[in-house]
Symmetry: C2
Subunit: 312 residues, 2 copies
């Protein structure tokens, strides 16, 4: 493929930035990648494993002369990074981010960027429960959605080039309004994560059931929750704080529904439960047809566990 940006600066060297660097290198999309991270240890590891072409010690050095700057830090750290890079950005450069929340990032980052710099916010719906500089791999974005949320008035040329970059790394790129993005993600990601964290916390608290029992018998549904609840705590704290409105709205709907089902259990209303469970089954079918999961009953989990269980 052709080089889309002569120099790409990655601010933060975690899972997403590392995977971007490896993917851009594999596909020849960037002339040079320069990276930095706040932690010296992260920079040391990145250097050691050759995660980017050049590791530098400061944000100012990283963005100097960069054609694309990627903010790959937790959402709560975006504003201070934006503030720091502002004076050092090259005119005509594009700045993007990979935060899980978009309205808040636009509000906090936007004002710090100078005229003549293009800000095209984005969010890759890709990740694993691992984090840190060693967690990246070049195929992280393949067949995953990447959502761009350019505010009104964004240079279409800058957006188009960034789209090409993500497509070059294998992503399926979509554009939508930042506010809508935040609501969609509150449903498909943020609220499910909060719920999973909660359930895992409840299990851990329960005196009468030991942690070792919870762990041993986790195949029965709980295991998927622990996977979700193992994600990066800083990132998720920031997600909930910065997507407060949409998350609280969806949580409100969730508890309303949960209470209805809880009442049905208490009252012995089997018909309501059966109808509810039948309806939700159809959605699963849609996801498989959309190619976002496989139909294989064990999802190919290998190793010690030959087949997972979610029965009872």
């Amino acid at each position: 493929m052709t080089v889309l940006y002569d120099r790409v600066a990655l601010i933060g060297l975690g899972l997403v930035a590392g995977s971007m660097s490896l993917a851009m290198r594999e596909k020849g999309l960037a002339g040079e990648t320069v990276g930095t991270a706040r932690s010296a240890e992260t920079r040391r590891i990145a250097e050691e494993i050759g995660l980017v072409d050049r590791v530098v010690g400061t944000i100012a050095e990283a963005v100097a002369d960069a054609d694309l700057v990627v903010l790959a830090v937790p959402v709560g750290a975006m504003e201070s990074v934006a503030c720091e890079i502002g004076p050092h950005l090259k005119p005509g450069a594009t700045v993007t981010d990979v935060g899980s929340v978009k309205r808040d990032v636009i509000q906090t980052v936007g004002p710090h960027l100078p005229e003549g710099v293009h800000f095209v916010p984005g969010h890759p719906l890709a990740g694993t429960e691992h984090s840190g500089p060693r967690s990246g791999f070049p195929t992280l974005f393949v067949n995953r959605y990447h959502i761009l949320t350019p505010p009104d008035g964004t240079d279409p040329e800058a957006t188009a080039r960034l789209r090409q970059l993500w497509e070059g790394m294998g992503a399926l790129v979509e554009e939508m309004d930042a506010e809508h993005h935040d609501l969609v993600l509150a449903v498909t990601s943020h609220t499910p994560h909060l719920i999973a964290y909660t359930m895992v916390g409840v299990a851990d608290d329960l005196r009468r059931v030991t942690d070792s029992e919870v762990i041993k018998y986790s195949a029965a549904g709980f295991r998927d929750f622990t996977r979700i609840a193992a994600s990066d705590p800083t990132m998720w704290r920031d997600v909930f704080l910065s997507n407060k409105d949409a998350t609280l709205e969806i949580l409100g709907r969730f508890t309303e529904e949960l209470f209805a089902l809880q009442r049905a259990i208490r009252m012995g209303d089997g018909e309501l439960l059966f109808d509810y469970f039948t309806r939700t089954r159809a959605i699963r079918r849609g996801i498989i047809e959309a190619g976002q999961d496989t139909e294989a009953p064990d999802f190919g989990r290998g190793g010690v566990v030959r087949k997972p269980g979610d029965t009872g």
Copy 2:
């Protein structure tokens, strides 16, 4: 291996019974397997694919002269099946079940079984989100836990032989009190399922986010919920109705915790959120170490989806 039971009767020919039949055949654990199901279509398919050695039309025929009778029907149907088999059981036979709830099954099934028949209730923590006679496979129980809950006074010999059968099919067998089983499962399975069903229902109801958006962007955490929520509706209705007390207890704890996190989001209490999310991460580590899941970030999901996302 040696034949443990000359004739095994399977009542119900779904995922679990079908997998048992295939596993027993592969390992030579049963002299003959006889199966029946209420639905003529299920019996026809079982016959067509040779799921058991012999498909019969009635429960009475199935259990006649059987050394082991396996009740593999939804928990809500156990009592009527027990009532029907009672008069036809061979003296000295063992009856077991594979229901997800144990106290209720003991209370409803036990009284219908004649003196001289051994009742050893059990629950395999194995399954997939698929159901029906075509869903079984012989390795379903390999390295999965099977919990036996023999009531006080159960013949140790009968329990030991049943344990041998499950171990022969590859399961890790544990024994515990029925009431404790129901609480442990309420935590590790029943409540997580109810929560997953609820979240999927909320997503489906939401007017401002389309189903197609939910489906497209499901990789971000929601997908695991849909997998759980795709399980058999009849089975799950019966689980909740028959494990009402433990499920309601755990649900109460869950909403209490959820409200605390919701309040932290509303108040902007990032420290509480961060500490909570850090604690839940450790539990995941325990599950991986216990061999009940793999550490691979994508869990080997293959096909179209090269890497799943649970980021933001």
